[in-house]
């Protein structure tokens, strides 16, 4: 296994009396797709928010690319190369799809207000590059033809892809995908599997929070399972598939899985 890109040590997050994430050690190797699964309320989205810096941790530490980023705010982590999508879609709805992706390049471009006022050659060149890279990212996720459409007017599945394009356009070191398959139909899920593989091939490490096993199993190199905020198991998809504790907590119970899917939108958001 290659070097570790992201590591959490005893990371914990409390909401009043509830311990949403309880002393979890997670390690994500460079270049892999790492699945983060678990029953509803297991703390997956909270975990993702801790990794992206959208929630501060109560205790424990987070190491990213050999630096301690535990106290770094979300924007600082984004600048360092951690990008994410949101389970409940946070697009800039009134902006065209292309502009949404262009915003994703904010931290990797330099021109200041001064350059914009004078329209310096540097600024014009950079703007051209931003547009070009944003178009490439739209093409990469298959939204090329919708560049000029307002983000909010796109169909749901396309909005999910647009979030991925915005997060991926700056070629982050680490991409955090929060339930990218939620609400997608079968064909869209298959396309998502292909997209996640292409992101991996492009050299970006991914943490994938997902319920849909038909997306998790074919894409993940390793999987970490959470249950009630605690680490339940880690291993390859094969290991996890055959882990009796995991089966007991989550996979084997068809009825639990259905309940989970039905409640998906509710409880996981409600946590933060």
């Amino acid at each position: 296994m290659s070097a570790t890109l992201l590591e959490t040590r005893q990371i914990t997050r409390r909401f009043g009396g509830l311990v949403a994430v309880d002393g979890v050690d997670l390690d994500v190797a460079e270049g892999e797709v790492h699945g983060l699964i678990g029953p509803n309320g297991a703390g997956k989205t909270t975990m993702l928010n801790l990794l992206s810096g959208h929630l501060p941790s109560s205790s424990g530490s987070i190491l990213f690319a050999d630096a301690d980023v535990t106290r770094h705010a979300a924007e600082k982590r984004a600048i360092a190369g951690i990008r994410r999508t949101f389970q409940n879609l946070k697009l800039f709805k009134e902006l065209p799809a292309l502009d949404n992706v262009m915003v994703g390049l904010h931290a990797s471009t330099r021109s200041e207000i001064f350059h914009a006022l004078l329209r310096t050659p540097f600024q014009r060149r950079e703007e051209r590059e931003i547009v070009e890279r944003a178009r490439e990212a739209l093409d990469f996720v298959g939204l090329g033809p919708f560049a000029d459409k307002a983000a909010g007017s796109l169909p749901y599945g396309h909005q999910r892809l647009l979030e991925i394009a915005r997060a991926f356009v700056a070629r982050p070191k680490l991409l955090l995908l929060d339930e990218p398959a939620a609400g997608l139909n079968g064909a869209e899920s298959k396309a998502l599997v292909d997209l996640i593989r292409r992101i991996r091939a492009a050299g970006t490490t991914t943490v994938l929070v997902e319920h849909h096993m038909d997306v998790v199993m074919p894409t993940c190199d390793r999987i970490t399972v959470l249950n009630y905020g605690k680490l339940l198991a880690k291993g390859t998809p094969q290991d996890i598939r055959h882990n009796s504790e995991v089966i007991g907590a989550y996979l084997g119970k068809g009825s639990a899985l259905k309940r989970e899917r039905a409640a998906q939108e509710g409880a996981v958001h409600a946590a933060p």
Partner: protein, 329 residues
């Protein structure tokens, strides 16, 4: 799709039309009023950047306008600085004053609105009470003619064109800011702060810069006003001024630069045209504002765009042009 016309062409036509006003309107009173409208448009453009682009509701623009006006008035009367330097001084003083409010920029919506309103009230009281500096309730008198490199611009037409040049520069500047990396960051912040942070945008920093630019713009407008009226009275800089600017921006159309200019002209000119209605004029004006807002939140510019696309949709030959006016342009 919106109207299909070249926006640059529209801007140039609008500029030429405004530049021609002194050639057709020789009445010095009306020229005077039109100059006030141009100054108001500069003020409104600054607020449009704040409210329309960055989604920051500010009721402090009137205060920065006052700071700019008094700074220009004081440096012009006490130190005899030439116009271009006082213009710069007015803008910079307002921008520096805005630094005082930087800790507040994180406030959202009505909280920021009320906090900046409080600032407007404080600045008005300072202007009123610090007589040694501002002349207090007697006002500040004796502001000299504006001169640029020895050229006297005090004449009605010359001053009108001076205001127009500055308005055009401010318009182009804010338009360039809007369509830049920084402008996109502001639009992103206005629509979803969490997602903006996830893209590496430093929200407090961007908002502070935006606040500073808007204050600088208000300071420029204040300076022009000082040279225009030659006499500054504290009554011109109550918190009413801040509210008036907000009306301009919202009536014209939130998020639209031409809307801000249009709104400024409506708010300044309409009560003047209604002057014959005597005491009723402010009631008529207020009613017009209420009715216009009742038509939706896109303001006058939204109505104009809807009307124009209705007309143009019946003229298929217009459909070939390569430019599309999107909402907000």
């Amino acid at each position: 799709m919106g109207i299909i016309v070249n926006p640059n062409l529209l801007r140039i036509l609008a500029l030429l039309a405004l530049a021609a006003v002194p050639l057709v309107e020789s009445n010095s009173y009306w020229l005077h009023v039109f100059s006030v409208a141009l100054i108001a448009a500069v003020l409104a453009l600054g607020l449009q950047l704040l409210v329309g682009m960055a989604g920051m509701l500010s009721l402090g623009q009137g205060a920065f306008y006052g700071i700019g006006a008094y700074t220009a008035g004081i440096v012009a009367t006490s130190f005899g600085l030439p116009f271009l330097l006082t213009l710069l001084a007015g803008g910079i003083a307002a921008a520096l004053a805005s630094l005082l409010l930087i800790p507040l920029v994180k406030l959202k919506g009505s909280s920021l609105g009320v906090a900046t309103l409080g600032f407007s009230i404080i600045i008005h009281l300072l202007i009123l009470n610090e007589e040694w500096l501002t002349g207090g309730s007697l006002g500040l008198m004796g502001i000299p003619d504006p001169e640029i490199f020895g050229l006297n611009l005090a004449h009605d037409e010359a001053f009108y064109w001076l205001c127009l040049v500055i308005l055009a520069l401010v318009y182009v500047s804010i338009d360039r800011i809007n369509t830049s990396r920084f402008g996109r960051a502001l639009a992103a912040i206005a629509q979803d702060e969490e997602a903006a942070r996830a893209s590496g945008i430093q929200i407090a920093l961007c908002k502070s810069k935006c606040f500073l630019i808007a204050a600088f713009t208000a300071g420029l407008a204040g300076t022009l006003y000082a040279y225009h009226s030659r006499y500054l009275s504290p009554n011109d800089f109550t918190f009413n001024k801040s509210i008036e600017v907000l009306i301009m921006v919202v009536v014209g159309g939130l998020g639209s630069l031409p809307g801000a200019v249009l709104g400024a002209f409506i708010v300044v000119l309409m009560p003047e045209y209604l002057r014959s209605s005597g005491e009723l004029r402010m009631i008529l004006f207020g009613t017009a504002v209420v009715v216009l807002m009742g038509t939706g939140n896109r303001g006058l510019i939204g109505l104009l765009q809807a009307a124009a696309s209705l007309v143009l949709s019946r003229l298929p030959s217009f459909g070939r042009s390569r430019y599309v006016v999107r909402p907000g342009e």
